[in-house]
Assembly symmetry: C2
């Protein structure tokens, strides 16, 4: 049931961009260094964020990436869903899945539907701005 690095890193990229948001383009190299993730690997992840119009890229000097909308307009569930392909717990609940012939007799289908729904509701209730550091909240854990 683990969320892969693609989904997790995508959130970290977006949070990083939201926290360093100055309307300028941010180099991927900067993000990679701050987040301690391979720049090359991040490229493949940012590519998807660009394809889904969550961020925009600009090439050349002074280029980089920036958010294409406000952090509170970027839905966490949506991002996770396209980065992971799906968040459904079983294949038959994924989009574009071929209808299961056993569905009419399936004892577990409603259980899985319910699980799928609560995951959907929960993840959809967050935006990137909900995950961004506010004041010094992040240090409350330190004694």
């Amino acid at each position: 049931m683990l969320i892969s690095t693609r989904g997790r890193y995508a959130l970290r990229i977006l949070i990083d961009m939201a926290e360093h948001n100055s309307n300028k383009y941010i180099k991927l190299k900067e993000i990679a260094e701050r987040q301690e993730i391979s720049e090359k690997y991040l490229e493949s992840i940012v590519k998807e964020l660009v394809n889904h119009h969550i961020v925009v890229g600009l090439r050349g000097k002074g280029g980089g990436y920036k958010l294409s909308k406000a952090p509170d307009e970027i839905n966490v569930g949506e991002v996770l869903r396209f980065m992971e392909g799906s968040l459904a717990p079983v294949a038959c609940l994924e989009d574009n899945s071929t209808p299961c012939p056993k569905a009419p007799f399936c004892r577990t289908l409603d259980f899985w539907r319910g699980l799928d729904q609560i995951i959907r509701n929960y993840t959809d209730s967050f935006t990137i701005s909900d995950l961004v550091k506010t004041e010094e909240a992040g240090n409350d854990y330190v004694i």
Copy 2:
């Protein structure tokens, strides 16, 4: 985020046993035929159910497996958790995980904790008896 066949098949085995519960031992071959799953593969799954005292086995003629407790005493979340190893969405929330040094600054930890919790609450709210066919409910889907 997919639940593997081990978790799904385990539920199907338990539901099958609950529906054919006559206090007698049921041969794995029967279950394998009804569920259309390889008997050999089911063996490795039932083994875990035996280890966790959910079912008991008896060898020889007239042997097989039966539930070691009533269906309404078998918790779905518990079964899924030990069959899957864990249902946590991120490794740092799994049992016995080494503490993450970044936890104090992690922007996403609370989000993942919340997700883990709703999955836990939901799956723990079901028992096998909730999944068993009641009357002809399973055919309600058929027009």
